[in-house]
Symmetry: C2
């Protein structure tokens, strides 16, 4: 993989030109893309910028994010050849920071269920996860030092886990979702993939002008382990990964204990789908009502099955979510971060399913920052990650503890 | 003006065909539009639907809302000829309810400061207000029984007040803002204009499948009058309007008392602009950075002047807003609704300024439902409205008390 932070240090020192840094990515893309299939579209003539903290950094943009100079096809036939008028604000944040958009990365159709043909770089017989399939795979294959994804259920943290890369789903709306195809406005969150946690922190800090995100690794953090039993059991390899991460953190000086979640948190996990599907029926109304036959079949089926959610169910679900956010905020008075699995286990075999988001849903609904840290490699060379979760707005703390954990796991 | 509720009753009874109902609007448009200038685009062949609670109802869509079969030009040169791929969800809600889109209504450029040439139907020498200028004017001129607008500062309630029509800015995100040009994602709210409060209630209920919004006029409500001194003084005609409304409510059986707002509420009013402008810099990043010379000059100037807002200022402002929402929620334990002015006075003279949103900002930031009720007619035949404000999620109560007040003012 290409470390964004390393590239940046060498560019800042003048050891590497922005052009040469960009060329590294383009060379790996030329060698790997035919096999991995991480891109929906490659920029025809990418050029390095000379200014900005991310000059020379190639970035991939998930293909549900609007770009004015490249197609934005949503992984869906309905948007074939679609070319938006404007760049999404999050694309402009990258361009203003000096990054070069190398291409649009593959996405499951409308960032929902229907998979892409993208391969997991660690084992080509397995899914890279989704919906941000191409972004996770491109970083894992060393094609890109940086990529954008989005998460409504588990579409950033899960593919990062399956592909063995770092990623952050920042606090809700730290990165704007304007110009990003909507699935659920209460849940959709833009996230960032890179090789390691420092790389993710450098990128997010440059995009948002938030220097506090560059804080060094935390020292002796208080960590609460949450097994998310309300979401069903993890697989053996997943359970191993969480134990390995907890043990490494403890050995490195963290105070680690298991946290039981109150009932209201389990309730919030349960109603995530109500919020998502109620809003999805409105968000996809034009596609579903006017283009039913051309709809991606798995998403269409899911919409067919969720037509009966009433406004009162939705209001009740939102009320549970609001109360759970308050309760979760109190839980964070006792611990710096929560440590949880990023997925129930390693990437499933085959490409017809991108894996289960059930260990991600709660945190998307809570709007809390989550950082994936690769923790374990299971049979078949398949990575498994854990997520470091901090309170809403404490993205700097989530990143600092994730850096601590990453170092502990490498020790 | 055309009463949507009356039309609907006659259509439901079979006294009026949907085609004939639609034709009424088209006739008035043919007669009035040349003078008023409320439309950016007229549907070439509008057709009545035969199904749905809003069949036969002509609706105008503010031209910052995406439509797949008509241009969406944002009142701005940069989007000249722009034709989105999809209908915005809120347009689909109207179509699914049976309404017919009669055209796109004029908007100040990007729903910000640069005005339209639309006239106030009550006095052609005055602005209809903005940013939803065409929607308010078209309803006031009797051209449409229904129109959509949006509010980020005071862009629904203020033009409704200036044009003497009813309007609701519903609770934040009751109507989705997906496919609506973003100014500020924390503030942007889609609202509805119609002749009277019942008309607004019928439309919103049909769009959202929320029958509770059709509740009859409230009886003996507890009303707290808020003069919003933190926003500066009202004009004489405005002060008169608020007194007239309060007296009418009291005479009709309401309990009315003045409410003083705590400091935190005044603080929230003050930081509205910080939230709006910080987000606007991201929302308009493509337009501002890549199309600076073509930007509408007043909006461009405002962006020029607000470049220095830092993430820490924004975070602090959001924190004030969150705390103020909790405080406001407690205030609503003592009263059913708050009664406040919809604007400092009547519509200003001339078309180069759409008036002051300072009496609207707080309630947009709080996300509370606000209903404009015409209360007074000042010199020059210029209407002035008051707004009935309920707690977040209590849209039914806001509408029920607004119906009570409307009847009291007519008595």
């Amino acid at each position: 993989m290409i470390s964004l932070a390393d590239l940046k240090r060498r560019i800042d020192k003048g050891e590497l030109s922005p052009e040469a840094a960009l060329a590294q990515s383009l060379e790996v893309i030329a060698a790997q893309e035919k096999t991995i299939g991480a891109f929906a579209h490659l920029a025809p003539h990418p050029r390095a910028q000379q200014q900005g903290p991310l000059r020379g950094i190639a970035v991939g943009i998930k293909d549900i994010v609007d770009t004015s100079d490249m197609p934005t096809q949503m992984g869906a036939e309905i948007y074939k050849g679609h070319r938006p008028r404007a760049d999404a604000p999050v694309v402009m944040l990258l361009k203003e920071a000096g990054a070069t958009v190398a291409g649009k990365t593959t996405t499951t159709a409308f960032a929902a269920n229907d998979p892409t043909a993208t391969l997991n770089p660690h084992n080509h017989a397995h899914t890279p996860g989704g919906s941000s399939s191409g972004s996770a795979a491109a970083v894992a294959a060393g094609m890109l030092p940086l990529a954008l994804g989005t998460q409504t259920g588990g579409s950033v943290i899960r593919p990062a886990s399956f592909c063995g890369v770092a990623a952050i789903k920042p606090s809700y709306r730290m990165l704007p979702t304007v110009g990003v195809k909507c699935f659920s406005w209460t849940l959709d969150t833009v996230g960032v993939f890179a090789a390691g946690v420092e790389d993710v922190a450098v990128a997010l800090s440059a995009m948002t002008s938030r220097p506090e995100l560059l804080a060094p690794a935390a020292k002796a953090p208080k960590i609460g382990v949450v097994t998310q039993d309300f979401a069903g059991p993890a697989e053996k390899a997943g359970t191993d990964a969480l134990k390995i991460a907890a043990a490494a953190a403890e050995k490195a000086g963290a105070s680690v204990r298991e946290l039981k979640m109150p009932t209201l948190i389990a309730d919030a996990w349960r109603i995530h789908t109500t919020v998502q599907q109620f809003e999805a029926h409105q968000a996809f109304a034009w596609e579903y009502r006017e283009n039913y036959d051309a709809m991606p079949p798995l998403l269409r089926k899911r919409l067919d099955e969720s037509r009966d959610i009433q406004p009162a169910d939705y209001d009740e679900a939102r009320s549970v979510a609001r109360k759970a956010r308050v309760v979760l905020c109190e839980i964070f008075r006792d611990v710096d971060v929560i440590l949880a699995l990023s997925a129930p286990g390693a990437a499933p075999k085959g490409l017809d399913w991108t894996g289960d988001p059930r260990f991600n849903r709660l945190w998307t609904l809570m709007g809390t920052p989550c950082v994936n840290v690769p923790a374990h490699v299971a049979e078949g060379n398949l990575p498994i990650g854990v997520q470091v979760i901090a309170d809403f707005g404490d993205d700097a703390k989530a990143l600092a503890v994730a850096r601590f954990l990453e170092a502990a796991l490498r020790a």
